[in-house]
């Protein structure tokens, strides 16, 4: 069965239930029940019209749940006679769902979970597996999130920036399990881009596509990290790159620059270089300057120092690094790299070992330990 097709129908089905008068939390539960039922039934008995099937089953589940609640008996009678959905636009309804699930009253982890379930159509179990928490914990997180947004009116326009932040998190956070969460983020961002005309939505989509294009080249057979400069560029997905670049160019032409477009522009410049040595570092530094202007984020300044090191030499990179707080994540790793480029292998080896000690994940720790080992071996030999 096509899990992606099933998931892509979720927001429409949910929006239709809400339009028929179901409240968001109850409708979302009913749609989730219908999805679980579809996963069980469809492999042996595929429906002729998957969407109609989901609407029928979800609506029945909603009515059953409402009936079970004696205090709501009156509303149930009315709901049972509810007419078919009206002519309101499905696109607008889907958009409202994005806004609701990324609402600013939600914590980032709640917004991510709710978006993946209500818009993405993932089951609670799949989301729990992706983020390595027990299913009961994830179920509780989602139901609390729904309670939090239950007072938000469904027809009020939301803030695109909050939606983009949530989708960025979905794409960028590490995950495990069978569901490809990064691909899921791209699917949801594509759909958002189709529903709303906004250069930063396009910028985020381009950024995701350009990074996703490098995925196969990013890890070695044994799971180790391969840094950008050492990746086999023949393994980059040129179709995704072409699409990402085109989306980005269209967005940039509108002259409403934002942080996602600027980040995508940097990714596009990397994608453009046939070999690492041919990277246009001068232009990349200019884009980092734009990013600093847009966000004034210290992590951006750190990445800028790396780019300056490539454009103007390691000494210039170290000078750009000097004013930055050395407790910034990856500061030590950047310092190690720049010292190595500068020829100071002893300092570089010591800093790589120190950076490994501070690494936030196992893949980076192993990579940095190998870098230290490589330099120490070379110095011995």
């Amino acid at each position: 069965m096509d899990g992606v097709l099933l998931r892509s129908l979720t927001p429409d089905v949910l929006a239709i239930l809400v339009r028929r008068g179901a409240d968001f939390a109850a409708a979302e539960d009913a749609v989730q029940d219908a999805l679980v039922e579809a996963l069980r039934v469809w492999p042996d008995d595929p429906p002729r019209d998957p969407k109609a099937w989901l609407i029928t089953v979800a609506w029945r589940r909603f009515l059953d749940a409402t009936r079970a609640d004696t205090a709501r008996r009156h509303r149930e009678d009315r709901a049972d006679e509810e007419p078919a959905p009206g002519p309101a636009s499905e696109v607008d309804d889907t958009l409202q769902l994005y806004f609701l699930c990324a609402h600013q009253s939600l914590t980032p982890s709640s917004a991510v979970a709710l978006t993946l379930r209500a818009v993405g159509g993932l089951t609670t179990r799949q989301i729990a597996q992706a983020y390595l928490v027990p299913e009961a914990t994830m179920a509780q997180r989602i139901s609390r999130a729904k309670r939090t947004v239950s007072g938000v009116r469904f027809d009020r326009p939301g803030d695109v920036a909050t939606v983009l932040r949530v989708l960025y998190l979905v794409f960028n956070e590490g995950y495990s399990g069978d569901i490809d969460v990064a691909a899921e983020a791209i699917r949801l961002t594509r759909r958002l881009a189709a529903a709303i005309d906004h250069p930063e939505v396009a910028g985020l989509l381009a950024l995701m596509l350009l990074h996703h294009a490098r995925r196969a080249a990013r890890t070695s057979a044994d799971g180790g990290l391969i840094p950008l400069a050492e990746q086999d560029r023949g393994r980059w997905d040129t179709t995704l790159i072409a699409e990402g670049v085109e989306i980005l160019q269209t967005a940039l032409a509108r002259d409403r620059l934002g942080e996602y477009q600027a980040q995508a522009a940097i990714a596009a410049l990397h994608a453009d270089a046939p070999a690492a040595e041919e990277t246009d570092w001068v232009q990349i530094v200019e884009w980092y300057d734009e990013l600093v202007r847009l966000t004034d984020n210290p992590v951006v300044r750190l990445n800028r120092a790396v780019a300056v090191g490539e454009a103007d030499g390691p000494r210039a990179g170290l000078a750009a690094l000097a004013p930055l707080d050395d407790s910034l994540p990856r500061h030590t790793a950047v310092a190690a790299y720049l010292h190595e480029r500068d020829g100071d292998l002893a300092t570089a080896a010591r800093l790589y070992a120190e950076a490994a000690h501070k690494a936030p994940n196992i893949a980076e720790r192993d990579h940095l330990t190998r870098q230290a080992a490589r330099l120490n071996t070379r110095r011995k030999g």
Binding site: D222, G223, G224, A349, Y352, A353, A356, H357, K358, A359, P360, I362, D366, T369, R370, A372, A373, R374, N376, T377
Partner: protein, 135 residues
């Protein structure tokens, strides 16, 4: 069945036989070590004895309550603290002997020179739920 925790220490365990810090190995030796660890976990998944495994960052913070209306007090990390956990693997096995056997295997992971590290791992049984039949 009984659950055991295999604890790996950054600090606090007796010195290993092949006690060379990892950044003084060759990159190939590091790869071989990681491969060995992954294969070990995969084998336990296949036999149905693997429960969980996690690695911890080397530095943590001590925290304690500091009274009503006050933020918690933090302290550390303490260089002099004797014990520092690096990570764990939780296994669910039939016997204590099987747990010992597996811990021995994990301790044989290759290190500098491609030779086993003979690292000391700590094996700790979990306290369990009380049994149903008590007499």
């Amino acid at each position: 069945m009984a659950k055991y925790l295999l604890l790996k220490h950054y600090r606090g365990a007796p010195a290993a036989v092949n006690d060379v810090p990892m950044d003084k190995w060759t990159p190939e030796e590091i790869s071989a070590h990681i491969q060995y660890m992954n294969d070990f976990a995969d084998r336990l998944r296949e036999t149905g004895e693997f429960v969980d495994g996690q690695a911890l960052a080397p530095e943590g913070t001590f925290v304690r309550y500091d009274g009503e209306g006050r933020p918690p007090v933090t302290d550390g990390p303490f260089a002099e603290t004797k014990d520092l956990i690096a990570g764990w693997m939780m296994i669910d096995v039939d016997t204590y002997d099987r747990a010992l056997e597996l811990a021995g295997e994990l301790s044989a992971a290759p290190g500098a020179g491609g030779k086993p590290i003979h690292e000391w791992l700590e094996l700790r049984p979990f306290l369990t739920e009380p049994p149903t039949i008590t007499e």
